[in-house]
């Protein structure tokens, strides 16, 4: 008798905790939806009549170093480097860091861009694996290109750091060689930095999307399409929700937690001062962001991180479960690592928004969410076995969570369409709009499981394996004549 009442109390406690937790989460989502709508409308209004051509033509445009690490990317390297070289911006350089590729990535570049080894005075402000050689083109047409050859550091972080060390300008754009950028990326990302009144903008991010089914021709997105396959399509709506609703919402209150490693503009000085990317981290982009914020706070720099609601970068999302699992496990592990490393900032008012908003949100609602969901399912199962469940209520609650999540995702698709009419046909939008109905049932459980797997690896400290994602190669279209011409 005594025992059962103990279990009852525990169950009651659990239920009310989960209830408070769930309600808070739902409220946060609703709040983010509103915040992001405000931020997006403001962005649209204020940029409606902006002429980016003024910046292109200006001798005062701040210089930007574009840094893209490459590891075994021989299939796509040429067209993607070329696409980086044709970005619209008056003052920039492109730094490709060949991270000890075992294929002919480097040889291809040397060939195509007429590269020659140069003696480069390299200042290793951030420690990295050995940097072996530097290449510049003898053809002035490619004078903006710098290729660095380094010993493989088993991480994108290490390669990017080498690029940061060699960068000439005050801002750097971090991207991936396999990411496809909009040609106005630099113009649009640098604007928030230039129009900030009092704060120092340390990072600017924008939306990423799946490149999987979009038509891509030599590193240029010709036509945007939602992925045909289900798995990447889930990722597409997940990205839209996370960027357009999440980060755009957080930007309004200056609490953006992360600027994605696929595309982000950073203040070089601060990135270097806090030691660059951490090559041991599994989520190096968010990790750097945290340290940059921390550094800024510690040094009394009034900082801001900004997001713009435009899709400027397309990346290939994993199409097979195995690779997807690896990616998500890695992300989850990175998050756990990060939260553990910075636990002192949690609820620490000295860290301002970082300590009071970003950390608590990410700790409770990103890190703990899969754990709580998982225990919830176990609880349900136990209660079912014990016959203690009120099915009517359980199902009402389930329907509630389901419809709510569909609503949030649909709203983010709508917000996304405010800035630009992404996709061309109605069918494509519809295809995207019905995806949330399946997400909850098919995709979400996967995320929970893979996250738990990541946490497990974090706790047990499983060895780091740097999953080299197999790329299919963008734009492998029938060779046109131009290719032959371009190939010299």
């Amino acid at each position: 008798m005594e025992e059962s009442s103990f279990w009852e109390v525990l169950a009651g406690f659990y239920e009310s905790t989960v209830f408070v937790y769930g309600t808070t989460l739902l409220l946060i989502y609703a709040m983010l939806a509103i915040f992001s709508l405000i931020a997006i409308s403001h962005f649209v209004k204020k940029n409606a009549f902006v002429d980016y051509g003024t910046l292109v033509a200006s001798p005062l445009a701040p210089g930007i170093s574009v840094i893209a690490p490459a590891f075994n990317e021989a299939i796509t390297i040429i067209s993607n480097v070329r696409s980086l070289l044709t970005l619209n911006y008056p003052q920039f350089e492109v730094i490709i860091v060949n991270d000890g590729s075992s294929d002919d990535t480097l040889a291809k570049m040397v060939d195509e861009f007429e590269l020659q080894e140069v003696e480069f005075a390299y200042n290793a402000k951030i420690k990295t694996q050995e940097v072996k050689r530097f290449f510049k083109s003898v053809n002035p047409a490619y004078s903006a290109l710098l290729v660095i050859d380094k010993v493989n550091g088993k991480s994108k972080a290490d390669a990017t750091n080498a690029g940061i060390n060699a960068a000439a300008f005050d801002y750097f754009l971090c991207t991936d060689v396999d990411c496809i950028l909009d040609k106005d990326t630099l113009l649009k990302l640098v604007k928030p930095v230039m129009e900030e009144q009092h704060k120092r903008v340390i990072a600017v991010g924008a939306t990423l999307r799946m490149a999987n089914s979009s038509e891509i021709d030599k590193g240029v997105v010709v036509r945007m399409k939602p992925p045909k396959k289900l798995l990447p399509r889930f990722q597409e709506i997940e990205y839209i929700r996370s960027f357009v609703l999440g980060k755009m919402g957080w930007t309004l209150v200056n609490s953006v937690p992360n600027v994605s490693g696929g595309l982000g503009l950073f203040d070089k000085e601060i990135a270097i001062r806090c030691g660059g990317y951490d090559y041991q981290s599994f989520g190096e982009d968010m990790e750097l962001m945290f340290r940059m914020c921390r550094y800024a706070k510690d040094n009394k720099i009034d900082y801001a991180i900004r997001y713009i609601p435009l899709t400027l970068c397309w990346t290939e999302g994993p199409e097979t479960l195995r690779i997807f699992m690896r990616q998500r496990t890695r992300w989850a592990r990175g998050l756990a690592q990060l939260m553990f490393a910075h636990k002192k900032m949690l609820f620490n008012p000295n860290y301002g928004n970082m300590g009071m908003v970003v950390m608590p949100y990410n700790f409770f609602f990103e890190l703990l969410a899969p754990v709580i969901e998982f225990t919830g399912i176990i609880y349900y199962i136990v209660m079912t076995i014990l016959g203690l469940i009120n099915w009517k209520y359980a199902i009402v609650l389930l329907i509630f969570v389901y419809t709510y999540s569909v609503m949030i995702t649909t709203i983010s698709i709508l917000w996304d369409q405010i800035t630009f009419r992404y996709y061309k046909t109605w069918r494509e939008v519809l295809l995207l709009c019905v995806t949330p109905f399946l997400e909850f049932i098919l995709y979400h459980p996967l995320i929970v499981i893979f996250s738990l797997r990541g946490y497990y690896f974090f706790l047990t400290g499983k060895k780091h394996t740097w999953g080299d994602m197999q790329r299919k190669g963008f734009g492998n279209k029938p060779e046109t004549k131009a290719k032959v011409v371009l190939a010299n």
């Binding site: 051509g53 292109v56 200006s58 696409s83 002035p140 047409a141 490619y142 240029v220 046109t480």
Partner: protein, 128 residues
């Protein structure tokens, strides 16, 4: 007499320059981006009397096209005018280093363009 390759991705510039040059009695071939320009050059075996090009374009920028033209035996003597909105000195220098003969900054004066085109064409003819 006078066949010109116009490489320009801005629709308005494209049309207007084409019209102006045609009125001057010149033959104009238009390429809308770097890729098209290279295809046109190859197809026509570099048989152009002049090339007018923008710098910032998708696929291959103007510098690359100029370098390509100037590296070719047949293309070497084609006079090149750059029309670009990029105003910083570096970019202008780059253009000249690659062998461009003239550099016009947007917004341009149509009259000036015509005079420069004619002068370059005349000079090229004299050399021949």
């Amino acid at each position: 007499m006078g066949k010109i390759l116009l490489v320009e991705d801005d629709e308005i510039m494209q049309k207007v320059i084409e019209k102006i040059l045609i009125r001057e009695g010149l033959v104009v071939d238009v390429a809308r981006n770097g890729k098209e320009a290279l295809v046109k050059l190859e197809e026509n075996n570099f048989q152009y009397d002049m090339m007018i090009t923008d710098i910032m374009m998708p696929y291959a920028n103007g510098f690359e096209i100029i370098s390509r033209v100037k590296s070719e035996e047949l293309g070497k003597k084609i006079p090149v005018i750059i029309i670009s909105s990029v105003g910083n000195e570096d970019s202008v220098m780059e253009g000249f280093k690659l062998g461009a003969d003239d550099y016009l900054k947007k917004p341009i004066m149509a009259g000036e363009l015509i005079i420069r085109v004619k002068r370059l064409l005349a000079r090229a003819n004299n050399v021949l």
